[in-house]
Amino acid sequence: MDTATTLLAAIEGNIATVGYGLAAIGPAIGVGIIVGKTVEAMARQPEMSGRLMITMFIGVAFAEALAFIGIATYFFMV
């Protein structure tokens, strides 16, 4: 028996699910930081909460854009 070509282990399934995991890590950390910092800023200056809400929206929109493109890339292109 040729040991060099012996298969020791095999991974079955769809690699896109690994891609989903990778695409979720970054935006999850990003949204956590955005919301945490918004709460911190609001605790310091509650009267600015209107502007902070809009700034938070922009941050969340950018983070989720990364997630959308990442997930779509793995599911459509792999």
Binding site: Y20, V35, M48, S49, G50, M53, F62, I69, F75, F76
Partner: protein
């Protein structure tokens, strides 16, 4: 212009942009890959526009439910809970439509990217052009004799 007005304007312009991306993507998709390309572009744009708009909708709903008080718990519960549910729904939807043979996956992917990047540009332009005051105060209310609403 207050927060709700800005978010509503973002929703309006994002919908207009999604319509444009769907039309242009549909024409290009039809020219390249026939009916499957057309459907791929339209479905991809619709998915990206719908899931992109849900963030602004969730913030609008959260402001309404929490009464503008971001520390009420309901605010971040709705915004972040909506975010989580949205991504689960997005993955489930992508699972379903990726294996469908009536859409072209490349057309769907390109239109998703175009709609997402376009909606980011729209968000930034609308916010940059809106004149939001640094400090928002409650307006005086007739029923409270000129004091801001909520104070007695």
């Amino acid at each position: 212009m207050n927060t709700q007005a800005i978010l509503k304007r973002i929703l309006l312009w994002s919908a207009i942009l999604a319509g444009l991306v769907a039309v242009i993507g549909g024409i290009v998709g039809f020219a390249v890959a026939g009916t499957a390309g057309l459907l791929g572009a339209v479905v991809g744009t619709a998915v990206a526009a719908l899931f992109g708009a849900l963030t602004a909708l969730s913030i609008l709903l959260a402001i309404k439910v929490s009464g503008g008080d971001m520390f009420s718990g309901a605010f971040f519960g709705i915004v972040l809970g909506g975010w989580l549910v949205k991504f689960i729904a997005f993955i489930a939807l992508i699972f379903v439509i990726r294996d469908a043979d009536w859409i072209n996956p490349i057309a769907a992917f390109v239109s998703i990217v175009a709609a997402v990047v376009g909606s980011l540009i729209v968000d930034l332009v609308v916010i940059a052009r809106s004149r939001q005051p640094i400090i928002e105060d409650d307006r005086p209310d007739e029923s409270t004799l000129g004091r801001p609403a909520g104070q007695r």
